[in-house]
Symmetry: C2
Amino acid sequence: MSRKSSLSGFMELIPDEQVQFDAIVRSIRATYALFGFDTVDHRCVEPLDTLMAKGETSKEVYVLSRLQEEKDGNSSSKRLGLHFDLTVPFARYVVENAGHLKFPFRRSSIGKVWRGERPQAGRFREFYQADVDIVAKCENGQTEMQALPMFNDLEIVEAVGFALKQLESQGAPAATIHINNRKLLQGCYEALGVKDYPKALQIMDKLDKIGDAAAVEELLAAGETEENARKCISIAKIRATTVDELQDNSLIMELAERSDLAKTGLSELVYLLESVNMSEYDVKCVADLKITRGLDYYTGSVFETFLDGLENYGSVASGGRYANLTSSFDGKNQYPGVGMSIGVSRLFSLLSDSEKLNTTADGESAIMVIVNDETSRPSSNYVCAKLRASGVTSFVCPNSNKFGKQIDFAARRGVRFVLFIGDDDKLQLKNIETGEQNEYSI
Amino acid sequence: MSRKSSLSGFMELIPDEQVQFDAIVRSIRATYALFGFDTVDHRCVEPLDTLMAKGETSKEVYVLSRLQEEKDGNSSSKRLGLHFDLTVPFARYVVENAGHLKFPFRRSSIGKVWRGERPQAGRFREFYQADVDIVAKCENGQTEMQALPMFNDLEIVEAVGFALKQLESQGAPAATIHINNRKLLQGCYEALGVKDYPKALQIMDKLDKIGDAAAVEELLAAGETEENARKCISIAKIRATTVDELQDNSLIMELAERSDLAKTGLSELVYLLESVNMSEYDVKCVADLKITRGLDYYTGSVFETFLDGLENYGSVASGGRYANLTSSFDGKNQYPGVGMSIGVSRLFSLLSDSEKLNTTADGESAIMVIVNDETSRPSSNYVCAKLRASGVTSFVCPNSNKFGKQIDFAARRGVRFVLFIGDDDKLQLKNIETGEQNEYSI
């Protein structure tokens, strides 16, 4: 990963790195499957009006055109773009395929997304996300919370927390999921009389970057009073790892008393914090009232996730709850949803750059079959075919150089075992690291 | 797959179909790994000049632009496009990363590619390919065949043949790999005195579609004699499943006598046909002199693959050998390569449309944990966490309706087993198809 990419922002790995990356993806996929999520592979291309359906987006979209079309000067067809996340396509997919889905629908999706942003450390133009979401359909006058109770938020936090936990065996540091609630924030801001809630949220979203003084200034410029600006910052600084700690905070308890919305939000946050702390999955979490998820349209829980010791690199898994995931695509039905997305490429680049990964090459368990001379290559092929048929990764040496040279060839590839046909036509397996050699039968 | 896609040419599956698709990809990936190929995940985006490096391409390229850039009227940066296959990015990757690769380099890559063509049955604008390639580097004056002997072509045919064979357990019909050789064709055409070899090749490539009469007409129009036109067609009709059968053909044997190039090509074809027939992998192949691979720049073996009974849908796995894979990107070094690509999306759509697939939903082996009442949900969560920790795919019922209703909920999802906490706090596992019920311990 220290190599410079030939196309800035587009990660491409050499084989040893790819082994580590693949192991991460395989592990996340296995955890999501274990939790019983169905997989959906979203097409990467959407009509531009689908991508822009929520109106303003901070994500820079790549637009597609056909080279041929350009030449013909014919661009009458619908304009298309690459998806910038897996949530917009999921919302569109749910509305399109509602008749084929069983609600609440549990879906995982691991795939590439594209954003034309300026590349930085850990920020790519083409990158993988690994999403899990649960979406319900409100039927027979159900409310959001009847159709999709809070235990779904817990399930999402546990799935992602457990997926990250599994990566610790590959060298990843422990992760902490930071939880907040938009209802709580909005309710508190309303109780305070904050004038421009969305604007205040955006300013708080960048508090860590700009610092308190600049945040106060921006809030004042947005028309808030100095007292409210100070209180917004006090709220943003609340952190609690237990329910007791959270309820010890007099500011938040007082505001919750003054706003039903804040009270509801607080009770949701309390439920989640308590449940995760009680959970079997050993997931670390903290109530962190600084978490806002900026411009995204969440309406309840919001999540960000930081790796111990690598907090400065930003969140590696984020998400939240939507009262109506599909509001842009279906005016009639309400589909509440909750989900999180692991930023796999960012996660990998953090771990790789900080030399945390210990996954070894696949070659470790592979066997190379020696070729005694070119005329006996078919015999080596035969042996190799038998190995493969019994499920052992193997290949035949592509040269028939001297024995020692073939062993060097295997060693340079990180292959630890070679198999050869001995004098008496018996197979010999040699560990080229230890020199140990044994008769072998397939 | 009978549903109409909301964006023509862009396949997206409902969960039951996705299970089948994922099983195919997983199986192919496992076979490629078994054969000891390293994986490379190519970025999807290339500079346009890389995509067009070979000059004329019949593939319609999607060009990218940033929406923001359009607005700013600033498009000074390098133009980018989506890759239309995994071979061009591989060639570029080999040159860029040669210092990090060990040659001969065995690489597999499974990923999406895009072509702005008119969608048809089995032909998509966004689709998966699953490639295997072996690429060597000519060093110290090595010739192509010294650096990359013909047994590499055999290895590629076996890897793809075995990968397709493994899919038969999922319901795929047997596949036959059709092999030809560009040297043989070019040598024969030279011996005949065919004037425009590339043009003749293109006409023969569509022989099945246009028929003999039209092919003769096109060859005449291209300046060939009627006798040569007839002979080109006679050559294209040669098929042989054994070496004896091939060598019984007097036309091909006579032409091979008159051209060294044809003789070399014939001996390569004979080697492959003979080796595959002797191979342990039970791969069906046929020498088929109609196979040309049209405009593609192969220089030796060429391959196409047809499924028994579904021949009319076209090839599901194609490829061939390049004397110099990287000629467009590296003027100094020679990297001969041989590879094949399974058209996974096409393969899936053929099998799905012809109702061949028998893969069942993952739910078959999953367990749903019953919730006795909402207050005891944490106990059900606890049981579920234990199941998952022991590697069993499971989830907790998202409602706490009556027992029978929860069982209906599981059944509608294709889940066969439910687990519940019985009167004496003992776990009971129930097969909801057979009604069988047993005490269960995790």
